[in-house]
Amino acid sequence: MIEIKKLNKSYRIGQNSLHVLKGIDLKINEGELVAIMGSSGSGKSTLLNIIGMLDNYDSGLYSLDNFPIKDLDETKAAKYRNQFLGFVFQSFNLINYKTALENIALPLYYQGVSRKERQGIALEYLDKVGLADWAEHLPSELSGGQKQRIAIARALASQPKVLLADEPTGALDSTTSEEVMSLIKKINKEGKTILVVTHEHDIANMCNRIVTLKDGVIMTDVKIK
């Protein structure tokens, strides 16, 4: 599903160039649940941003579902993000003046899905994350775990090929973290390819593969079970 070869990325900071990703090779198959670990500065977030088409890379190769991703302009990137990817963030990133249902329906709005259809799909995913009763609530009326479940539903609503989760449990307590992770696992079992960036070992251990980054290179790549 995801194929990355000799991926390099540097950031220019004033006069200096910071080499963040130093030749990453990574292949993720359809249906995998992969944890990307590493301390801060290891390059894990940069890797996720590149996979998420939020950032460009300097050299190497990245293809998503055999579709080469390189030098996209903003309009194309937006389109591919919308079609191929679903994002889940640490801080949920729900739009605070929209209800849970509207938040979930938003990616579909940008796809040009009709209003009625959108509502139906959004309700379906709301039900899937177990929050059907909370459709008309604003994010401010929801708990952290509920917010993250809404965010997951939103990420799934556009039926992406890959779900990218950046520290999805970073802002949650351990009980809620487990709830969210079991939801992610459940979605994975239904066949969705999922990447989880985390620095928590117990979260990583709930995945079926752990890729550890250090200083811009992959240190270990372990399958669990």
Binding site: A78, K79, Q111, A155, S158
Partner: protein, 423 residues
């Protein structure tokens, strides 16, 4: 175009501008104030224009008065201080030589300009009144309202030198009891009996016409006979065609009269005149000037308001950096974002514009009602032409779009990766 009629587009717009209602309202007031000012000012300017128009509607708007005085420069063997008198023959010469003239109404009068008026008697009642020798053409140059059952002097009266007269309202009051209809009755003017053929209403024509309500009009020929004035004319009312420059006509008339009466061309005193048309034009131009100024003020204020909207949207884009980043991450293209911000700008501008127009119309309505009964105030029917309003709206949509581009470009320059960084 579809997006404009899409319910979702509007929901997005309401969602984002509804986030900070107070700020949105204050922003709207900026533009609203501009259009309100524009509507009220240009409506008021139109009202003033209409008001003057109404005050002058009874007079040919391209009119001048000409009379003769005495010379101030010796010329052609004549001494200075020679009294000049206009003649009936001058009327024909002027009319023949100056094609811009539409009508000339010669008048002769007693009772003003230092002469004594006519003593009129009806039984025991009597009074002294201004008396005019007139031609029928007078009613074309300046409107005369004759009460029912009466008429003004006609050609036959002139031809037969009839002893008939038209009297003013005050003349009637002083010479007749209230319940007597004077039409057909006779009054004694300087021992000659005149039959009354009409009573004219007193109308203030403004701008120095020589009407009053205590006067008597008789046929010019009759006047000339009873006062033995020969062909002498007191003054001329000259009306130019609507499209001629009355100031030029005045120059031509003066030059012609100086030639006829052997007056030095530079003599400023010998021929007196009052150019009502020029005064009228000045007043019209004044009204035009007011509406031009109101246009400038209106546009400038609208512009300031629209810039305010741009400014607020810029702040709002800054505040919504994260939200825009989220939208971008979940699939909003730069065009989506740009369109939304511009539509927000245009929407705010139009809302402000429409409310401003409605409020402005309401204020004009109030002004109109409260000035309706003020006869002396030249203010009638303040309106703003519909194409001015449409033009203003169009201008606002244009400006709203243009100004919307600034925050919109700012918004799409936000990289989702930057926006989503957790602080």
């Amino acid at each position: 175009m579809n997006t404009i009629f899409d319910r979702d587009t509007w929901q997005e717009i309401f969602g984002s501008i509804g986030q900070n209602k107070m700020r949105t309202i204050i922003t709207i007031i900026g533009v609203l104030w501009g259009i309100l000012l524009y509507i009220v000012l240009s409506g008021a300017a139109k009202g003033v224009d209409n008001g003057f128009e109404k005050q002058f509607e009874r007079i040919s708007s391209n009119m001048l008065f000409i009379w003769a005085q005495s010379t101030s420069i010796p010329y052609a063997g004549f001494k200075t201080d020679r009294g000049i008198r206009l003649k009936l023959s001058d009327v024909k010469t002027l009319k023949n030589n100056i094609p811009e003239i539409q009508y000339i109404a010669p008048r002769i009068q007693k009772g003003n300009f230092g002469s004594s008026g006519a003593n009129a008697k009806n039984g025991k009642r009597s009074g002294t009144f201004n008396i005019y020798g007139d031609y029928p053409v007078l009613t074309i140059v300046t409107q005369k309202d004759i009460y029912d059952g009466g008429r003004f002097i006609n050609e036959l009266d002139i031809k037969e030198e009839r002893k008939v007269c038209v009297i003013g309202e005050r003349t009637q009051k002083e010479l007749f009891k209230d319940d007597v209809n004077p039409i057909g009755k006779y009054i004694n003017i300087n021992s000659i009996y005149f039959r009354i053929i009409g009573i004219h209403k007193y109308v203030d024509e403004g701008g120095g016409s020589f009407n009053d309500d205590g006067d008597i009009h008789v046929p010019f020929s009759t006047f000339k006979r009873i006062y033995n004035t020969g062909d002498v004319v007191g003054f001329l009312l000259i009306a130019g065609f609507d499209d001629v420059n009355i100031l030029e006509v005045e120059e031509k008339v003066r030059a012609q009269l100086k030639e006829i009466h052997k007056i030095h061309p530079d003599d400023k005193q010998a021929i007196g005149g009052f150019n009502l048309g020029a005064l009228f034009t000045r007043i019209k131009n004044f009204a035009k000037g007011i509406s031009f100024i109101s246009l400038i003020i209106g546009i400038a204020t609208i512009l300031a308001g629209v810039i305010g909207i741009g400014n607020i949207l810029l702040i709002s884009v800054k505040e919504r950096t994260k939200e825009i980043g989220i939208r971008r991450a979940i699939g909003a293209s730069p065009n989506h974002i740009r369109r939304q911000i511009i539509l927000e700008s245009v929407f705010l501008t139009i809302i402000a514009g429409v409310i401003g127009i409605i409020l402005g119309a309401f204020i004009l309505y109030i002004i109109n009602i409260s000035t309706q009964n003020l006869e002396d105030m030249p203010f009638t029917n303040p309106t703003v032409p519909i194409n001015f309003i449409l033009g203003a709206l169009l201008l606002m949509v244009g400006l709203g779009t243009l100004i919307g581009f600034i925050p919109a470009e700012k918004a799409i320059s936000i990289k989702p990766i930057e926006a989503l960084k957790d602080e």
